[in-house]
Symmetry: C2
Subunit: 256 residues, 2 copies
Amino acid sequence: MARIIAISNQKGGVGKTTTAVNLGACLAAAEQRVLLVDMDPQGNATSGLGVDKHSDGGSLYDVLVHDEPIRNIVRQTELSTLHVAPSNTDLVGAEVELTSALAREHVLADKIEAVESDYDWIIIDCAPSLGLLTVNALTAADAVLIPLQTEYYALEGLGELTRTIRLIQRRLNPRLVLEGVLLTLYDGRNRLNQQVAADVQRHFGDKVFETIIPRNVRLGEAPSFGKPIILYDIDAKGAQAYMGLTRELLARHGIQ
Amino acid sequence: MARIIAISNQKGGVGKTTTAVNLGACLAAAEQRVLLVDMDPQGNATSGLGVDKHSDGGSLYDVLVHDEPIRNIVRQTELSTLHVAPSNTDLVGAEVELTSALAREHVLADKIEAVESDYDWIIIDCAPSLGLLTVNALTAADAVLIPLQTEYYALEGLGELTRTIRLIQRRLNPRLVLEGVLLTLYDGRNRLNQQVAADVQRHFGDKVFETIIPRNVRLGEAPSFGKPIILYDIDAKGAQAYMGLTRELLARHGIQ
Ligand SMILES: Nc1ncnc2c1ncn2[C@@H]1O[C@H](COP(=O)(O)OP(=O)(O)OP(=O)(O)O)[C@@H](O)[C@H]1O
Ligand SMILES: Nc1ncnc2c1ncn2[C@@H]1O[C@H](COP(=O)(O)OP(=O)(O)OP(=O)(O)O)[C@@H](O)[C@H]1O
Ligand SMILES: [Mg+2]
Ligand SMILES: [Mg+2]
């Protein structure tokens, strides 16, 4: 059965999509079968992998609101074992329409069950919010990976996020665990980044991934070509970092 | 009567709060009377100005859901003519509770009317979303200022944002105009930043502020001291940039 990981942090611009796309791609490069579920109406993970958000193949909106099976909307990417369940701004409507649905928090979990055996990993990219779409992602997930930019506002939001996760564990998804906190957009010369990183490591201990993702211009360039970093520039510091993260994640789960 | 400007972009981490806090502070330093309304449940604008999010004075949640007048929750800051209508995570509840309210998009506009004559400017910091809280902000506003990080994902979201603004102009707020697009987190040595900036300037013409906000570490440090940049380090590049933006905005509105 697939391990389902939600990439979540309500703080905006901390590297959720960059992590979902590049972790997914590195896992696929390591022969793992991966489904990337784009639960953000911005659809950045969809376009970051070169998939057309508005083509006729349907999107996650159809799955959540029109009961379409996920299998019907899944798209291929340049990596044969990396598939995407795409999104676009229609998904904004799903948040409103789900509000009155029966077991509204479990809709995504219900849909993912049908494809779980087809994949080794299912990565869910979340929007910068703790609304119903993200609650669906956290209810469907086995674990949550928290990308954290090492800055003050991002650190400030961490308490609220961990409170929400605990609430979801208690009421909606008892199996949900913290996969880890990933330090992102890190500049070692920046004193603030150093201080926040030290704070987080003190507070979360071994729950913080050893791999730290540095600020690397190539990571910002790759999405404009619709490619994950390993297909855009494998020698880039950003590519090396996400490959390191993937090795660390696989090792934690006993996979060579 | 106050000019009401919403600072909005559904893309996360593009400098909305940093712009709201520092533009507000620079306007106050220029003897303008300013109210900063924090319409983001993260409450970053609240803490960025050193206001306690959880003290007993009430928050925007009470205004939107319990019909409290804004005047009752307004807080002072270190700048005598800069006030804050604070927020905290209770505001997440307001988004759900407002869904079934009568004229749910006009609640904030209705509340702001009572204090408009007390201020020259009302700046509304928005969450990274186009949900009901942001729709309330855009319905209450005279103009929208769009901070735009010069990167691919941020550029991708611009179309959706302008579509939403046009929809709000047509159905909810005919007086809403674009105050301008502000390029933020700009690094002149970064080719991607240069390309995106050129794209935006070609597309939006004189709607793009001449002032460009550079990436400046001091802007990231200031919030951890609860101070706007002009009180933290007035000589920093970031302080000079926001002072330049303020001069440009005042000049556009014929104020010396
Ligand atoms: N390590 C990095 N180095 C340089 N640029 C990065 C890095 N990680 C992300 N970026 C860039 O920073 C911006 C924010 O990252 P990203 O969009 O992945 O964050 P996010 O948390 O998904 O944002 P949102 O909250 O809007 O969903 C993007 O333009 C991205 O290309
Ligand atoms: N010009 C700048 N130079 C350096 N750091 C900046 C600059 N502008 C913003 N920052 C920092 O970048 C991060 C993102 O900025 P900010 O939080 O203001 O964006 P936002 O759009 O309000 O985010 P959200 O979408 O979460 O509301 C913050 O840590 C902030 O301190
Ligand atoms: Mg994202
Ligand atoms: Mg903000």
